[in-house]
Symmetry: C2
C-alpha cells in the first residue's frame, strides 16, 4: 500500500466526458410532472428556464456526454483536483482504515460548485443568453455562478436569502468582485417577493422563496435564463468529474474504496463523488458502499417522504419525485447553509429507493468537532457542509477500528471554510447548539404535499 500523501493527475487525465448514471440504472427515474396538468414535462416546458443543451442533458440516457473544450479550458484553472490520504487523521483516530479525501476547495470559489457553474454559463452563452439569474443561500453557488459568468461575459443576478445577505456581507462582496448584482430575497423586484413582504416586511427569506423569485424573473425576460446549483440531473451530471478523477486516483493509490462518502444537501457534491462508483458497480465492477451524510436538522433522506413535490416555495417549478420534508418546511438556522434545503435530488432519492446508497444524519456540533479534528491533523479547515462528510468518514474509520478492518474510506471534502469562520467562532465560544426542527411543523409540511395520483 502506498505511503504517498497526495495523488495528482496530469491535465491529460482530466475527464473528457461527464458520466450519466441514468444510463446504468436498473429502473428509470420517475417522470417530472407539470404542476398544472400533472403530465410529464417535455423539453419545451423547460425552455423558458434553461438553454436546450442543458435540457437535453437533463433527460439524456447516454452514458457519456462530452465536456466542451472551452469548459475544460476553464476547469484547467484548478482541475484535476487533488486526492489526499489522511495519514495524520488515521493516526489520531488509531484506525486501521485508510482514509482518502478528494479536495474540491482548490477551485477559485473554494468549493465544488464551479464544476457546474462553468458549463451552465458556457451553454447559456452559446445559446445567446445575456443574463443568468439564480438564488443563493450560504453564497457558495452565487459566488460560483458569478465567477463563471465573469469568464464567459454573462450578467449574473443573484437573489440572496435575506438573512445571509445581512449576516454574510463578505459573500456578497465576492459576488460583486466578480461583477454580479446581489438582491436580498424576498425583494420588491418580483411579484412573489412583494407578496411575501406584504405579509411580513421583515421576512428572513429562504432558499425556496429565492428560487421562486429567480424563476419568476427568468420566465419574464427573453434574454434571461435561470441557473440552479444542485438538485437537477444536469447539475449532478456536471459534478461527476469529481468521482471520475477520484476513481483514477484511488486506482493510483491501489486502494479501491470500500466506502464512498459525501455530504448531501441538494445532492450535487454527493452525486459527483458517488455516481461514477455506483455506475461502476452496476456495470459489474467492484461495488462500494455509498453513504450520504445529511444534517439532523434538515434530514430529507432519513426523515423525509419519497413523494412528488415542488422545488420552490411558490410552487412555480415542476413536480419532482424526491425525498422531501415538504416545500413549506423551514429548517432551523444551522450553519451548513448549503444543506438547508427541503428536498433531495431526484436521482439521489431514486438511488436511495433502489438500495444503491445509505443515508445517515448528524448534528451540527458533532460535525464541527469532526471538522476541527480534521483541520488540526490535515491542515485544511473544511466548510461546515463538508464537516458532515468528515464526520461520516470518521465514524466509518472508528467502526473499522472496532471491527479490526483495514478498509479504504473515500470522502469528498467539497470546500474550505475560509468564508465560514463566523460559524467556527461560535463553535469555539460554545454558542452552537443542535437546534432541531419542530416535529409538528414537519408533519404539517408533509401533510401539505401536492396530491399526485399513484398511477403517475
Amino acid at each position: 500500500m502506498s505511503q504517498q500523501t497526495k495523488f495528482l493527475l496530469d491535465e491529460s487525465q482530466m475527464p473528457r466526458h461527464w458520466y450519466n448514471l441514468q444510463a446504468d440504472l436498473p429502473k428509470p427515474l420517475p417522470a417530472v410532472l407539470h404542476p398544472g396538468t400533472l403530465q410529464p414535462v417535455g423539453p419545451d416546458d423547460l425552455a423558458p428556464l434553461f438553454p436546450m443543451e442543458l435540457i437535453l442533458q437533463e433527460v439524456s440516457q447516454e452514458r457519456e456526454i462530452e465536456i466542451p473544450e472551452p469548459v475544460r479550458d476553464v476547469f484547467r484553472l484548478w482541475r484535476p483536483a487533488p486526492l489526499y490520504r489522511a495519514h495524520r487523521l488515521e493516526k489520531a483516530l488509531g484506525t486501521p482504515a485508510r482514509i482518502y479525501y478528494k479536495y474540491e476547495g482548490v477551485s477559485p470559489a473554494g468549493s465544488h460548485k464551479p464544476n457546474t457553474a462553468v458549463p451552465q454559463a458556457f451553454y447559456n452563452k452559446q445559446a445567446g443568453v445575456k443574463r443568468l439569474v439564480t438564488e443563493t443561500g450560504a453564497g457558495q453557488w452565487g459566488t460560483s455562478l458569478s465567477f463563471a459568468g465573469s469568464l464567459f461575459g454573462l450578467e449574473v443576478e443573484v437573489f440572496q436569502v435575506r438573512v445571509s445577505y445581512d449576516q454574510k456581507p463578505y459573500r456578497r462582496a465576492v459576488m460583486e468582485t466578480y461583477g454580479a448584482r446581489c438582491v436580498a430575497s424576498p425583494s420588491n423586484e418580483t411579484a412573489f417577493g412583494r407578496s411575501v413582504l406584504a405579509q411580513n416586511p421583515n421576512h428572513p427569506g429562504s432558499l425556496g422563496i429565492a428560487i421562486s423569485e429567480a424563476v419568476e424573473l427568468a420566465v419574464q425576460r427573453d434574454d434571461t435564463k435561470y441557473a440552479l446549483g444542485s438538485v437537477l440531473n444536469h447539475v449532478l451530471l456536471h459534478q461527476t468529474v469529481i468521482g471520475q478523477e477520484a476513481m483514477t486516483q484511488m486506482t493510483m493509490a491501489d486502494a479501491w474504496p470500500h466506502v464512498v462518502i459525501g455530504c448531501a444537501g441538494g445532492g450535487s457534491n454527493f452525486a459527483g463523488i458517488a455516481f461514477p462508483f455506483i455506475g461502476h458497480g452496476l456495470r459489474g465492477g467492484e461495488k462500494s458502499r455509498v453513504v450520504a451524510v445529511e444534517p439532523a436538522a434538515c434530514p430529507s433522506l432519513t426523515r423525509g417522504k419519497y413523494a412528488y413535490d415542488f422545488g420552490d416555495t411558490a410552487g412555480m417549478t415542476p413536480l419532482t419525485k424526491m425525498h422531501t420534508l415538504g416545500s413549506q418546511f423551514t429548517p432551523p438556522g444551522f450553519h451548513a447553509g448549503g444543506l438547508r434545503y427541503h428536498g433531495m435530488a431526484a436521482l439521489v432519492s431514486h438511488c436511495k429507493e433502489l438500495g444503491l446508497i445509505e443515508a445517515v444524519a448528524y448534528n451540527q456540533v458533532e460535525c464541527f468537532e469532526a471538522g476541527v479534528l480534521f483541520a488540526r491533523n490535515e491542515g485544511i479547515v473544511p466548510a461546515p457542509e463538508a464537516n458532515h462528510a468528515v464526520k461520516g468518514a470518521i465514524e466509518e474509520a472508528l467502526r473499522c477500528k472496532r471491527e479490526g478492518k483495514t478498509e479504504n474510506i473515500l470522502f469528498c471534502l467539497s470546500g474550505h471554510g475560509h468564508f465560514d469562520m463566523a460559524a467556527y467562532q461560535k463553535y469555539f465560544a460554545g454558542e452552537l447548539s443542535d437546534e432541531s426542527y419542530d416535529e409538528r411543523e414537519l408533519a404539517q409540511a408533509l401533510a401539505g404535499l401536492p396530491s399526485v395520483p399513484e398511477t403517475v
Copy 2:
C-alpha cells in the same frame, strides 16, 4: 509560444534545496549589530530566540541548503504550486506582453506564509521546543504558524495587533481552529504591553509592538522560542521554493521572464519569487528586471532611509541595515495589512543598494482596481497585498503595449482574498481612500533612527 494556461510540476520536481542568494552576492550583507554593544551579533546572541539550525541558516553562505524530508512531506499538501498564463487578462489589456503568475494561494492558509512556517515549526520541534510565540497583523502569518504548529505538535501563541483582533474575528477563529492561542496586543501579559497600555489603555496596537511582546515572552521562557514570518534571511531563504518552481515552469512555458514582480512588505514573498532569478543572472545566466511593488502609504524601499534600525518598537531586536521608515513610524490603516511594516528585509534592501532590483509604490485604490480586473478575468480574487503585484504586472503590460514589445512578465500572486472581503466591500462602497502618512511624522521617525558609527 505555448497557448497552455496552467503549468504544473510533478512532485518529483518540488525543490529539494532552498536557494541562498548570499552565496552569489557581489558584496556581503552588512553585519547585524547588538543594540547595546553595536558589535556584530553572533549565533549565541540569537539562541534565546531561535533554534540553532535556523540561526545557521540566517548566516549561511552556502548556495543550497537541503529541505528536510518531513518539511517536504507537509509541502506536498499543496506544493508544487501552479503557475498560470493570464490569457484573459492579456486580452482585456490588449497587450502584446505575456503575463504569467505563480499562485501561492493554494496552501491551506491561503498564502505563501506556510512555506516558512512549516520549516520553522519543524526545526523548533527538532530542537525540543514546546511553544512558539509570534505576532500577526492581518493574520496570514499567525494562521500559517498555527497550521504548521498543529502538524508538528507545538503550542502556538499569537500576539495579534489589537485593531485586527477586534476587526477580524474570523482570522482569530482560523488560528483557534488550528489550536493556537490568540492574545490582543498590546496585552497585559508582557512588561512592554503593560507599559504601552499604561500610556493608552485603548492603544490600537502595531506590528512593532506585537513583535516586542512576542520577543519578550520567548526570551523569558526556556521551552519557548520566537518565530518571525518575514524580514529575516532564513525566512526569505525558505520562500525561494516559489522562484525555483517558477524557473522550471517558465522554462516549460518557453517564456523566460523579462520582468519578475512581487509585492513587498517585509520582503518574503518578493524574495521568494525574485532571488532565484537574481542569482541566475548573477551567475551569468539570462538577466531579468526585478520589480518590488510596495504601498504608497508605507513605502520603505522608495521613501525610507537605508540605515541601521530596530525590527520592533521597543528596541529589543538586533539592529539591521535596511530601508526603513523608522521603527517609531506608524503607517496609516490601509487594507494590505501584510505590507504595513516600517522596515524592509536586509537582503532585499541590500539588493536595492546593489542595483539588482527596482522599486515602485502604488496607492491602495488603484491596487484594488487592478485586483478586481484580475478577478473578473482570471477568476481568482487576490489578497489586498497581492493586488500590489497585480497592479505592478498590469503597468508593465501596458508599458509593453505602448512600446509594442512582446515581453514575458512574471508575478507572484501570493495569496487569495477570501479573508479580506471586508476590504473589497469598502472598495465597492466607495469607502476606500488613498490616505497617506504624515510627512512630518515620517521625518520625525527618520530623525529618531538609532545612531550607529559609519565605521561599522
